[in-house]
C-alpha cells in the first residue's frame, strides 16, 4: 500500500463550472475516497418565496433558481400552485410547456456535452458543440422572448402564445440541426482520443445507481429506467407526444454522452409532434382562489427528477416551498463513482455528471 495524499479540488477551479468542492484521497494516481461539499451558493430563495413574494410572483423567482433549467423550475412551481388553487390548465398551455421544456433540454444537454469534451481535452469539439447549440438559444428567444430567463410558465397557464411563423421556424431549424446532430453522435461515439479518455471512466453499476437513488441521464446511462416523463401522465401528457426512454448499460462517461445525444433525437421528435398537434384553446385559466393545503409535483428537468413541495394557508404568501433539485439526489453517487479512477480523468467525470449547484443549494 502506497502513501495516501489528499487533493482538494474546487470550489474555484478551471475545470469546474460551478462552485463545488471535492476532497480526493489518492494513492499514487488512483482515487480511493472522496468527500463533497456542495452548499457554496446558498441564496435563501425558498425563504424569500415564503415571505417576500406573493404566490403568483414566485414562478418568476424560482425561474431564477437555475439558468439552464429555468423552465423546469417555473413549470414545476406553476403546477404545484395550480394544485393548491385547484384549477386545471388549458390543453394548449400544457403542450406549449412541453415544447419549451424540450427546447430547453436540447440546449442544456448540448452544453453538458460540450463541457465533457472540453474537460476531456478536446477543445475543438467544445467549440463545435457550442456552435450547434446556438440554434436552440435562438429558438427559445423566438418562443419566449428571451435567451435564458424564459418566464414562460405562470400560475394558470403560459405567458405567451406560439405564433405559426415561429412554429415553422422551429421545424426548419430542427431539420437543419438533424445532420449536425448525426455528425456530433459520430464524433462522440467513434473519436479515438475521446474514447480513450471517456470509456470506463466514472463508471457506476446499476445496483449502485439503484441503491444511491440516482436520477436523470446519470441513472439511465447505468441502465436504470428512471424518467418522470414515463411515470406521470396527469400534468403533462408526455406519452401522447411520443416520449421514449433512452437507456445504456455501461454507466461510464461515454454512456452518459450517448444517452444525452440520443435523448436529443427524442426531444426533437417530441417538438415536431407538439407543433403538428398543437390544440386550439385558451392559454390561461383565470382564478381568484388563494392557495390552500399541500401539494407535491415531480417533473423531469434536463438533469433528472425535480421535486416541488408547497403548502398554502389561504393567504397570498405561501407557508412553505421546498425544492429538491436533481443534482442533490446525485451527489452520493457522484462521490461513489470517482472510486478507482485516475485523478487525471476527474474533470471529465465531473462535467459528465452535469452538476447544477445553483439548483442544489438554491
Amino acid at each position: 500500500m502506497g502513501k495516501q495524499y489528499e487533493i482538494p479540488l474546487g470550489a474555484q477551479h478551471i475545470s469546474l463550472l460551478e462552485p463545488l468542492h471535492f476532497k480526493f484521497t489518492t494513492e499514487n494516481e488512483k482515487i480511493v475516497d472522496t468527500t463533497a461539499n456542495i452548499f457554496y451558493v446558498h441564496r435563501g430563495i425558498e425563504q424569500a418565496c415564503c415571505s417576500k413574494f406573493k404566490f403568483r410572483q414566485v414562478s418568476f423567482v424560482v425561474g431564477r433558481v437555475c439558468g439552464l433549467c429555468s423552465i423546469s423550475h417555473s413549470t414545476a412551481y406553476s403546477q404545484v400552485a395550480e394544485k393548491l388553487v385547484k384549477i386545471e390548465i388549458p390543453r394548449r398551455a400544457k403542450y406549449l410547456r412541453m415544447l419549451v421544456i424540450e427546447l430547453d433540454r436540447i440546449h442544456s444537454h448540448l452544453l453538458c456535452l460540450s463541457h465533457v469534451a472540453e474537460n476531456s481535452g478536446f477543445e475543438a469539439l467544445f467549440m463545435k458543440t457550442m456552435q450547434y447549440r446556438e440554434f436552440s438559444m435562438e429558438l427559445l428567444e423566438a418562443v419566449c422572448g428571451n435567451r435564458i430567463q424564459y418566464d414562460f410558465s405562470i400560475v394558470g397557464g403560459v405567458a405567451r402564445d406560439l405564433k405559426p411563423a415561429v412554429g415553422q421556424m422551429i421545424l426548419e431549424r430542427l431539420k437543419k440541426f438533424k445532420p449536425q446532430l448525426d455528425e456530433l453522435v459520430d464524433i462522440y461515439e467513434n473519436n479515438w482520443t475521446l474514447s480513450l479518455k471517456n470509456k470506463g471512466a466514472g463508471a457506476i453499476t446499476k445496483e449502485d445507481a439503484m441503491r444511491l437513488n440516482v436520477v436523470g441521464p446519470f441513472a439511465r446511462a447505468a441502465g436504470l429506467a428512471i424518467d418522470v416523463r414515463n411515470e406521470t401522465e396527469d400534468l403533462l401528457p408526455w406519452k401522447e407526444v411520443g416520449f421514449e426512454m433512452v437507456l445504456d448499460t455501461a454507466g461510464d462517461v461515454h454512456a452518459r454522452n450517448m444517452v444525452r445525444l440520443h435523448e436529443l433525437y427524442v426531444s426533437m421528435r417530441i417538438i415536431e409532434n407538439i407543433i403538428a398537434r398543437l390544440p386550439e384553446s385558451a392559454l390561461i385559466t383565470e382564478t381568484k382562489a388563494f392557495p390552500d393545503g399541500e401539494a407535491v409535483v415531480r417533473i423531469e428537468a434536463p438533469r433528472g427528477e425535480l421535486f416541488y413541495y408547497a403548502k398554502g394557508n389561504k393567504t397570498q404568501v405561501l407557508e412553505r416551498l421546498k425544492i429538491k433539485a436533481p443534482t442533490f439526489s446525485n451527489v452520493s453517487a457522484m462521490v461513489e463513482a470517482f472510486k478507482g479512477n485516475e485523478y487525471g480523468s476527474v474533470p471529465a467525470i465531473i462535467a459528465s455528471y452535469d452538476p447544477c449547484l445553483s439548483c442544489t443549494s438554491r
Binding site: Q57, F60, C144, G145, I154, A159, R160, K163
Partner: protein, 148 residues
C-alpha cells in the same frame, strides 16, 4: 485522413460568429424589451405595481392627488406581468427594444430604494392628509348640524 481534409476545408469556410457591435444579433419581433407607459391612458389603479415581482414600478403621489409613474429598467425582469395585469389596453406596454445598461451615475440601486420608500411615504402622507381633511369636514358638518 478524413479529419485532415475536413480541417483543410474549414480553412476556407466563413466564421460562424458575428462582429457584434457592428452587426446586430438575432432579436425576434416580440422580444421582451423595454416597458413603455402612456400617461394619458392610465387609470391609476396601481395594479401593475401590485403584481410586479421585483418591484420595478412604483407610483408616487403629490399632495394635490396627482400620481407619477416611476420605472427602473435595471430592476425590471421584463416578464410582462404588468402588461397582463393592466385593465386598460395600451396604458402599459412592452416594446421589442432591448433596455440600455445601467450607469454608475444613475445610482440605480440605492437611488431606487430611496425613491421607492419616498413614493410609498408620499402616498401615505396623501392618504393621511385626505383622512384629516375628511375628518375636519365631518366635524364642521357636525357643528353645523348642532347649531341648527
Amino acid at each position: 485522413m478524413k479529419t485532415f481534409f475536413k480541417a483543410l476545408g474549414n480553412l476556407f469556410r466563413k466564421p460562424v460568429t458575428i462582429k457584434y457591435p457592428f452587426e446586430q444579433t438575432y432579436i425576434p419581433d416580440d422580444y421582451r424589451g423595454m416597458i413603455g407607459f402612456d400617461e394619458n391612458l392610465c387609470i391609476w389603479c396601481r395594479r401593475c405595481e401590485m403584481v410586479c415581482p421585483p418591484g420595478a414600478i412604483v407610483f408616487s403621489q403629490d399632495m394635490d392627488g396627482k400620481q407619477t409613474y416611476h420605472f427602473n429598467r435595471a430592476v425590471c425582469i421584463y416578464c410582462s406581468e404588468c402588461v397582463r395585469a393592466c385593465p386598460k389596453e395600451g396604458a402599459i406596454f412592452q416594446t421589442a427594444e432591448p433596455a440600455k445598461c445601467a450607469l454608475k451615475e444613475e445610482n440605480i440601486n440605492n437611488g431606487w430604494n430611496a425613491l421607492f420608500d419616498e413614493a410609498l411615504k408620499s402616498r401615505a402622507d396623501y392618504a393621511a392628509e385626505k383622512k384629516r381633511l375628511a375628518a375636519e369636514k365631518a366635524a364642521v358638518l357636525k357643528t353645523d348640524d348642532e347649531k341648527k
